[in-house]
């Protein structure tokens, strides 16, 4: 833990933005104002932020349908994100993508993805592009424990090894693929990293609820990949506080499971406890960030509500030909 005060505050702020963005979505979805499927990232913030804090806009990431956290951590505009989820034509994708398909290539964010396992091959392509450019840039494929069972992920891992693409497969194991437990669905009954290892990659494992573990591990992984050693994989053990999608009654959870996870495995509380115990920041510093973030979220929701709606004419925009 050698981060400056500014870096610590920045990391905390980013995690808090994701947390409050999602908690607010969870509330707003009940009002019916937000249409469609929304998959919340809440609980996994330390992974997105611990990974993306090391990247700049020319490093690429490819995300999942639980992508809000990755987007925000990679620098996508908060208001633009909120407006997109609201379906506004002022949204980051003009209301065409919605929660599952947000992208901002200018930020190196090559898209959330509505297809489980759809992202990993795309990340390999972006890594091959980085290799061609030869500037030590990387591409990151975020995948969940569900996507680790898709053949596309296997194909992508093998191709990355064969082509020595600077691709990092970040597996976020939150123990549930939709409504099915990892102990059932991952046949190795062990971990995901060992699969990546079998493809010939160097792998790392860390506690995904511990920001500092994620951050420090990623520094090692990135040093290794940026040095031209080919692809790598890392598995973060993390937790998902909400259901697979918003509206999921989560009948597959054990009694008191979510309360217990929130009490013991919350990456934000752990960050708070750790930095205050080490006297790097005090409670007042963090409370000030909290207040600032709450205001920013409130402003984003207000802006999203007031933002311009798309019209029927917009349906035909951005296709090469309208039949």
């Amino acid at each position: 833990m050698q981060l400056s005060r500014e870096a610590l505050l920045g990391a905390y702020r980013q995690m808090k933005v994701i947390r409050e963005f999602e908690e607010r979505l969870h509330t707003e979805i009940q009002t019916g104002e937000i249409a469609g499927f929304t998959h919340l990232y809440c609980g996994q913030e330390a992974v997105a932020v611990g990974v993306c804090e090391h990247l700049d806009t020319s490093d690429k990431i490819v995300s999942t349908h639980r992508g809000h956290g990755h987007c925000l951590a990679k620098g996508c505009d908060l208001d633009g994100m909120m407006k997109e989820i609201w379906g506004s034509r002022e949204g980051l994708c003009k209301g065409k993508g919605g929660s599952m398909h947000i992208a901002d290539v200018d930020q190196g964010m090559l898209g959330a993805n509505g297809i489980v396992g759809g992202g990993a091959p795309i990340a390999v392509g972006a890594a091959l592009a980085a290799k061609l450019d030869g500037a030590g840039k990387v591409s990151i494929a975020f995948s969940g424990d569900g996507a680790c069972n898709q053949g596309t992920t296997f194909e992508a891992m093998n191709m990355a090894v064969v082509t020595q693409a600077p691709c990092i497969f970040v597996f976020e194991n939150n123990h549930y693929s939709e409504h099915t437990g990892v102990d059932y669905a991952v046949g190795t009954q062990k971990d995901i990293a060992s699969r990546a290892e079998a493809f010939g990659m160097k792998v790392w494992r860390a506690d995904g609820t511990d920001f500092f573990a994620v951050h420090d591990t990623m520094r090692e992984v990135l040093d290794y990949v940026r040095a031209g050693n080919g692809p790598a994989a890392v598995e973060f053990d993390t937790e998902r506080f909400f259901g697979h999608f918003e509206g999921d009654p989560q009948r597959y959870r054990g009694p008191g499971e979510i309360d217990r996870l929130r009490a013991t495995r919350d990456c934000l509380s752990k960050f708070r406890d750790s930095v205050t115990a080490a006297k790097l920041l005090d409670g007042a510093d963090l409370d000030a960030v909290d207040a600032e973030v709450m205001n920013a979220i409130e402003a984003a929701v207000t802006a999203a509500r007031a933002a311009e709606r798309p019209t029927a004419d917009d349906v035909l925009a951005d296709v090469y030909i309208a039949y």
Binding site: G111, G118, P121, V124, S139, Y320
Partner: protein
Amino acid sequence: MAKMMYRDAVVTTIAEEMERDANVVVLGEDVVGGMGTAGGPEAIGGIWSTSTGLFGKFGKDRVIDTPISESAIVGAANGLALAGKRPVAELMFADFIGVSLDQLWNQMGKFRYMFGGKTKCPAVIRMAYGAGYNAAAQHSQAVHQILTGMPGLKVVMPSTPADVKGLLRQAIRDDDPVIFLEHKALYGMTGEVPDDPDFTIPFGHARLARAGEDVTIVSSGLLLGFCEQAADRLAADGIGCDVIDLRTASPLDEEAILDSVEVTGRLVVVDEAPPRCGLAADICSLVANKAFASLKAPPQAVTPPHTPVPFARELESAYLPSVDKIEAAVRKLMAWR
């Protein structure tokens, strides 16, 4: 003008574009050929010889030999394109689209739209399609009807070496994903090719291969040549055919079709895809909707039957539309009422 084979038009166009633009990269199964073998790189330069010599000229970072992983190939093309490159990926046989469908259908064709028009995906996916090689049901299909049905994909089907040059160059320079369908029975076809290194053919512009006033015949790919032969026979009997080579199944040159039918009043669409929900049915419907008053007879579709492609020579010949069948369809229309 130089004389050149259809397959050479493919590889020379790619090489010229790679020379011109460092962002153009090639990837696919066996595009180098011989990687990891005793024979070594370029022991074989692609199974269709459509990438021969590229590896030696441009090196392993721009000519990427991949494992047999169609999803990863198209997916990597997507990632390369989103990251600013111009990938030209080869799927070898068009039949293999099924293995990579998500990347073609849910990813590639949708990025620009889903991401609010702020993203380009300048990827070309080349594949060899079609019957005529006795390669049977899993290596002979015409797949353009499936791909044309996916909004966001441009679908190109050249029928001559010159069109390969102009359309492939256009495809590589295009900012949208393009599916470039090369008919495997045309690879050995020779024809004149313009020398201009910037010769391109815009998409959605059909070519009039024969001119006539009695019947409009619409086709593309291998069958275009069959239509021309039928038109030549019919001309001997004084029946004039407008033979329209679509060049692109999507975008479709509706205007060329409608303008012709308004003169001829008769339409025959000749297509290699199965009859149901295909390009032939689509064009018949277009004409019925937009040129009904001009029609002197019902539009005719000449397609294979709704079966998988058979293996035996006799069966495959019976399966494919033939010059005889095209001629018969035209005569049927001429005899209407």
